[in-house]
Structure formats: C-alpha cells, structure tokens
C-alpha cells in the first residue's frame, strides 16, 4: 500500500493489517465463474435460506476488474482454460480464488481428454470446497476458511503470485 513498506514488521503495520484485513474479509466482491451443475448450489447459497450476505460476501460483480474473490464453480475444460486465466489476470490485487466442487478442484470424475484436472493447473487457488456439488453449508464453511486466511495476511507479504 505504500507507507507500510517504510515501517516493516512493526506495531504500526500489524495494526494496519488488522484494520485492512477486517475490512477485506467482510466485504468480498465475488466474480462467479459458473460453468456447470455446481451453479445450482452456488445460487442456493446466495439465496435467502442460506444467505451468504450474513458473511458480507453477497455482492457478485460481473466484471473481474471489480471483484476480489474468483469463485470457479463447475467443470473447466481445456477449451475454456485460457478464458479462466484471462479472467484471473484481469482481477486486481488483492485477489483470492475459491475452487467450488470437485470438478474445479481435481476434474472430478471427468478424467478425460477434455477436462482440466483441477483449476490449480491454470491459476493459484486459495480454498478448495469439496463435494459434488458441495452443500451450501460446505460453501459457507469454505468462505469462513477464506476469511480466516485473509485475516492472517499482512499488507507486506501480498505479492504477485
């Protein structure tokens, strides 16, 4: 962010981290990259019954430039891989990636000529949510894990990965 590089790992920086991380983790703007059946559970998580707004992550942005969490929801095939990479590259730092469901995580049962065997072959991933599809509780659990992860970060160590 600028000034904190002057202060290094000092009291000022850790206080700043706390404030910044608090703000970041309760206001995720997500970009839903939805390709397959997992999208249904994704919608359900966003709807009133599970209400992801309770965790401050209810606001999808359909431009990667305005989003900070990329939700990859569903099967990604080799034909689509360059698109996913491009969407990721368009997002500004800080950014996080959630791999939603086994297809995005490992290709799932699509061990075949067309399917990417996990999106981490294309882009770095922060949180993996297992399930085919994951239940909304699992998604919320994944979101909480991401919040935990964000709260341990420092404004100093976030680099281009």
């Amino acid at each position: 962010m600028g000034l904190e590089t002057l202060f290094g790992h000092s009291y000022l920086t850790t206080r700043l981290d706390e404030a910044v991380n608090w703000a970041r983790k309760y206001s995720f703007f997500n970009y839903p990259f939805v390709t397959a059946c997992c999208g249904m559970e994704f919608m359900s998580t966003f709807a009133s019954t599970y209400d992801i707004a309770r965790f401050g992550a209810e606001y999808p942005r359909f431009s990667p430039r305005q989003a900070d969490v990329l939700f990859v929801v569903g099967t990604v095939n080799e034909k689509l891989a360059p698109v996913l990479k491009r969407v990721y590259d368009q997002m500004c730092e800080p950014k996080w990636v959630v791999s939603f469901g086994v297809c995005a995580t490992s290709g799932g049962f699509y061990d075949n000529y067309a399917t990417v065997q996990g999106i981490d072959k294309i882009i770095p991933v922060d949180i993996y949510i297992p399930g085919c599809p994951p239940r909304p509780e699992a998604v919320l659990d994944g979101l909480l894990k991401l919040q935990q992860k964000v709260s341990t970060e420092s404004v100093l160590d976030r680099k281009y990965r």
């Binding site: 080799e78 034909k79 891989a81 990479k85 000529y113 067309a114 981490d120 072959k121 770095p124």
Partner: protein, 157 residues
C-alpha cells in the same frame, strides 16, 4: 404393422440391406454405405420420415469395418421410428452427408467428424464443433490414448 418398414426397405433395396433387427417395434436396418443417399431419399420422400432425430457413430475397434454410422429417424406424419446403420471402414472413413435431405444433419455430422474422424462427403462446412482449433486426433476413437491431454495454455508446475 410389425416389420413393415424393414420389409419395405428390403424390397426396395434388396442388394444393399445387410441385416435387420426388430424388437418390440424398434426396427433397425443395416445397409451398405454406398446405398445411404438413395435410402435417405426414399425414407424422406416416400416413407415420410421428416425428422432426423440423431446421427452418431460407434467405434467397434478391432472389428473391420470398424465404424458404424447410426441414424435415428422419426416420421411425425405416421409416428414411425427407424434406426438405420451403415458400416464404415477404418481405412476409408468416408460416407455421404445427409445434409441435402435433413438440414439438421449439419451439426450432428460435425460432431461425428470431430469425435470420430468420419468425413462426410458433401457436407457444406465440415469443421470441428466441440474441440478447439489445433486439437489433434479424434478423442472418441477407441485408439485415442486415454490419458492424452492437449492443453491450449501451459499448465502450472
């Protein structure tokens, strides 16, 4: 009415019909691939098969002729269904296109070309439809390596 279609086709194309099969009104005719355009015209113009429901290919490696073209027809006028199959040799994977008869054959044949590498002669635009440009081979062929991947962008690690 049982086997009516089979009998009609047998009488009309005695030399081309290789085999027939009939199970509870589910009629199948295997014909020589040279006779396909004539049979298609006959089905469409005289038997009223106005709808090509599906067109696909099966690979029976190591049998020769290796491929079989499988078409499912439906007649909305008479409520008939018919399955027509044509053996296609692996060494000569070509067959006449059905696009002149049913426009809907276009994308079916592109898919069959993409997945099995069958060349449909007379097709107006025989390009891949599912796989991307630069993909090599035909993935649903039985001899396509199971673990072969053709990424478009380099993978990490």
């Amino acid at each position: 009415m049982s086997s009516y279609l089979i009998e009609t086709l047998k009488t009309r194309f005695p030399a081309a019909v290789l085999e027939t099969h009939d199970f509870r009104g589910d009629e199948t005719v295997l014909i020589k691939k040279e006779a396909l355009p004539a049979a298609a015209a006959f089905l469409k113009d005289e038997l009223g098969f106005d709808f090509l429901m599906d067109l696909t290919v099966a690979d029976y490696l190591p049998r020769e002729p290796r491929f079989e073209l499988v078409c499912h027809f439906y007649s909305s006028k008479h409520n008939y269904r018919l399955r027509l199959k044509c053996p296609v040799a692996g060494t000569d994977a070509r067959i006449a296109s059905l696009t002149p008869f049913w426009a809907g054959a276009n994308w079916f044949e592109r898919e069959a070309y993409d997945m099995f590498g069958i060349n449909f002669e007379g097709h107006p635009d025989l390009r891949r439809i599912l796989m991307y440009d630069g993909f090599e081979g035909h993935p649903l062929r039985k001899d396509y390596p199971l673990k072969k991947r053709q990424p478009r962008i380099p993978h990490r690690d």
